[in-house]
């Protein structure tokens, strides 16, 4: 099986450790993972702000970069959701039937990490070791746009040493929302502060989620409040071992 990593623009530029963790994890599970250098961004920042024309080049480079792979794996529920639900819109807008055909081909082969592990590889025990208390935030797009359900939890429950603590109001949005965080900064911060308070209430050492952009926001609020809670992407915990801890 030819598997490509779609690292996402945010992870590429800001959180390379998450991409490295996915590579380590997939190799450990026997997957030969490739990183197509032509990839850029899924286009979601443009689409969600209303700049549909501006998203066309990103979608074009997406389908070009991942053409011919059996599966495209990404450590982001939001970007997987964008590929699956928004690329068609952008392609229609471009008026290019070739792009629409390529999107129809690529979209269904694009998987968020936990979907790929559970549905395609059929594993829940990935052989990870992480001896800490962890609370899990199900990000909105993973939860509602993709419907990843309890897959991330099932993966976390099989991590040796890990103690999973329930997050109050877990399913409520953290307030990131892409450009919402800037356009409606006050509301975004109010939502983030409530989320951060719930995270602190759990007493967990680590907050985990499947999207670094949400974590950057919640972590940013926690950091300003000097909460001392560590923020980690799901991939980093799943990649963690006794020899190479996260």
């Amino acid at each position: 099986m030819r598997v490509a990593l779609m690292v996402t623009c945010v992870n590429d530029a800001m959180f390379p450790g998450t991409g490295q963790a996915v590579v380590r994890l997939l190799r450990r599970l026997g997957v030969d993972v490739d990183f197509p250098q032509a990839q850029t961004c899924c286009g979601q920042p443009m689409v969600n702000t209303g700049y549909l024309d501006e998203a066309v080049p990103a979608v074009r480079s997406f389908v070009r970069a991942f053409e011919g792979y059996d599966a495209v794996v990404t450590p982001s529920g939001s970007c997987a959701g964008s590929a699956r639900h928004q690329h068609r819109l952008v392609a229609e807008r471009s008026g290019d039937p070739g792009l629409a055909a390529a999107v129809a081909e690529t979209s269904p082969r694009t998987y968020e990490l936990s979907e790929f592990l559970v549905d395609v590889l059929g594993v829940t025990d990935v052989g990870a070791y992480f001896p800490h208390s962890v609370t899990y935030h199900p990000t909105c797009h993973s939860l509602r746009m993709l419907g990843v359900g309890d897959r991330p939890r099932r993966l976390l429950e099989r991590v040796r040493g890990l103690r999973l603590v329930d997050l109050p109001k877990a399913e409520e949005c953290c307030g990131f929302g892409g450009t919402f965080a800037l356009k409606n900064a006050d509301t975004s911060v109010a939502m983030g502060s409530d989320k951060a308070r719930h995270v602190r209430e759990t007493g967990a050492e680590v907050l985990v989620a499947g999207d670094n952009s949400c974590l950057m926001h919640i972590g940013g609020v926690l950091g300003r409040g000097r909460a001392g809670v560590r923020v980690l992407h799901l991939a980093e915990i799943l990649a963690s071992t006794e020899e190479q801890p996260a």
Binding site: V7, C9, N11, D12, A13, M14, F15, P16, G19, Q20, V23, F35, Q37, A38, Q39, T40, C41, G43, M46, V47, N48, T49, G50, Y51, L52, D53, E54, A55, V56, P57, A58, A65, Q86, C140, H141, L143, R144, E171, E172, C173, G175, G177, G178, F180, A181, L182, N184, A185, D186, T187, S188, V189, A190, M191, G192, M216, G220, V221, G223, R224
Partner: protein, 486 residues
């Protein structure tokens, strides 16, 4: 908060003021939390909720796609039952019709059963200008009216008020407009409701004309339907001599049988009840019983504009249950006034631009008043994909500015991003700059950025932002061959 919605500031600044009101935030979080819990419990009781949602959506969709013929059928049925049907293109026409009817009957006051549509068109103000007093008879509407206030929720218009404030409003204002509140008024809910009942009873018994809205209008039987909790609606619909119902053209349902899923979806989604206490239906005139003159004003006011929008059209399926408000994390923190409309929350964020069209700063801000978390779509009983419509309307806002002589900084930024994302080599160069900044910062021992100037300050005023890494993932992959080389 007094006065009118017109001229409200755009959402971000209106929200900022609301967020600073800690009492308001507490009231909202508590109230929406309670309704959310009740709704979840009664929705959970229904085995085939998803099928019911699909059925409800299908009924409304069928009506909308054949709206012209359904409306003509409705007019025929109503007329056959002795009602007089009026057509109104906009607020001005509708108000003129109602004021004309009130003048013809020489009334100086009317009682009203909660109708959002009359608030949408400013009917009370139009009547007042003609010297006619309009009395709201729904408890929450009465609180809002006496307080010189605006509604902030579809179902609970006075959600932003607490008991002490309501007591104060009743004590101060009831006497000025009718029967005063009792001298020993407390802020006990039962005592407040009792005072409202006494105050309103006088109005019901005196009024010769009533104005109502309708939740549904059945085309084949010519039946209007009002669903309510307090019984005030039934008083308005039965006691006065003249009844005027103002109905948005999207309220039409083809057949009586098709009300079934809608009447099951609405109370559970709205009040979290299995069934609402009062469902009133009326078809024209019954000689010797109830109002002997019935008028129905069918109003467009932007609805055909919304209907013509293929993506936005689904918003007209809305049955005004307010489930989307109660689950919306943005609404929960800002309240309804920030939306600058009688339709607040997620549905308001799409309905207002669809009805009025994009193009003014207040309306254009509404599609952005959402984090696109999708909770509204999940809760909507008629499956309106609100996030989809929000993104669609955002693109209309952006497209409306494509010909601007001086583009907005945001547009310039997105054009730049679009260009960079079109080619990995361009993105790579941008990332080189970012990792250079990261190296410089980390050399000075900084792991997060300080407060940024310009637009970046919107992030860093209240949140840390991590310093960029010293090497992008792309560079790491190239340098180590994906981790194969150290």
């Amino acid at each position: 908060m007094t006065g009118t919605f017109v001229g409200m500031p755009a959402f971000p600044s209106a929200a900022r003021a609301a967020l600073a009101d800690t009492q308001l935030r507490h009231n909202l979080a508590h109230a929406t939390g309670v309704i959310r819990g009740k709704r979840a419990a009664v929705v959970g009781e229904v085995d085939n909720w998803e099928e019911l949602r699909l059925a409800g959506a299908a009924v409304k969709e069928r009506a909308l796609l054949a709206l012209d013929t359904q409306l003509v059928r409705l007019e025929e049925s109503l007329t056959a039952h002795g009602a007089v049907v009026h057509w109104a293109r906009d607020a001005e026409e509708a108000n003129r019709i109602v004021v004309g009817l009130a003048r013809a009957h020489e009334v100086d006051e009317v009682v009203k059963v909660k109708s959002m549509l009359t608030q949408e068109i400013g009917l009370n103000e139009a009547l007042e200008a003609a010297g006619i007093a309009a009395w709201e008879t729904d408890l929450a509407e009465l609180i809002v009216q006496l307080g010189g206030d605006l509604p902030s929720h579809i179902l609970v218009p006075a959600i932003h008020r607490n008991r002490a404030e309501i007591r104060e409003i009743f004590a101060r204002r009831m006497g000025e407009v009718g029967r005063p509140a009792p001298a020993d008024l407390t802020d006990e809910p039962a005592v407040l409701a009792g005072a409202a009942r006494e105050h309103l009873r006088e109005k019901f018994l005196r009024a010769r004309m009533a104005v109502s809205g309708a939740n549904f209008a059945v085309a084949d039987t010519g039946t209007l339907v009002v669903v309510e909790s307090e019984g005030n609606g039934r008083m308005c619909l039965t006691l006065p001599e003249v009844l005027v119902s103002i109905v948005g053209i999207e309220k039409v349902v083809p057949t009586w049988a098709e009300l079934d899923p809608l009447l099951r979806l609405l109370p559970r989604s709205s009040t979290g009840e299995r069934m609402n206490p009062y469902t009133s239906t009326w078809s024209g005139i019954t000689p010797g019983d109830g109002p002997q003159e019935v008028h129905v004003v069918l109003l467009d006011n932007g609805r055909t504009r919304a209907l013509a929008d293929e993506v936005g059209r689904q918003a007209l399926r809305c049955i005004r249950c307010s489930a989307c408000l109660n689950v919306c994390p943005v609404y929960e923190r800002t309240g309804g006034h920030a939306y600058g409309s009688v339709y607040p929350g997620p549905i308001g964020a799409i309905l207002n631009p669809l009805l009025r069209g994009t193009g003014d700063p207040q309306t254009d801000a509404l599609p952005y008043a959402s984090s696109l978390c999708g909770a509204c779509f999940e809760a909507c009983p008629v499956r309106i994909d609100i996030p989809e419509v929000l993104v669609h309307l955002r693109s209309q806002v952006v497209d409306g500015h494509r010909e601007d002589r001086v583009p907005k900084p945001e547009a310039v930024a997105f054009r730049g991003a679009g260009w960079a994302f079109g080619d990995a080599r361009r993105l790579d160069r941008a990332e080189r700059l970012s990792s250079l900044a990261g190296r410089l910062l980390r050399r000075r021992g900084r792991t997060s950025l300080g407060r940024l100037p310009g637009p970046g300050s919107a992030w860093t005023d209240a949140r840390d932002l991590p310093a960029p890494p010293t090497e992008s993932f792309r560079d790491w992959w190239r340098r180590t061959d994906g981790g194969e080389r150290p």
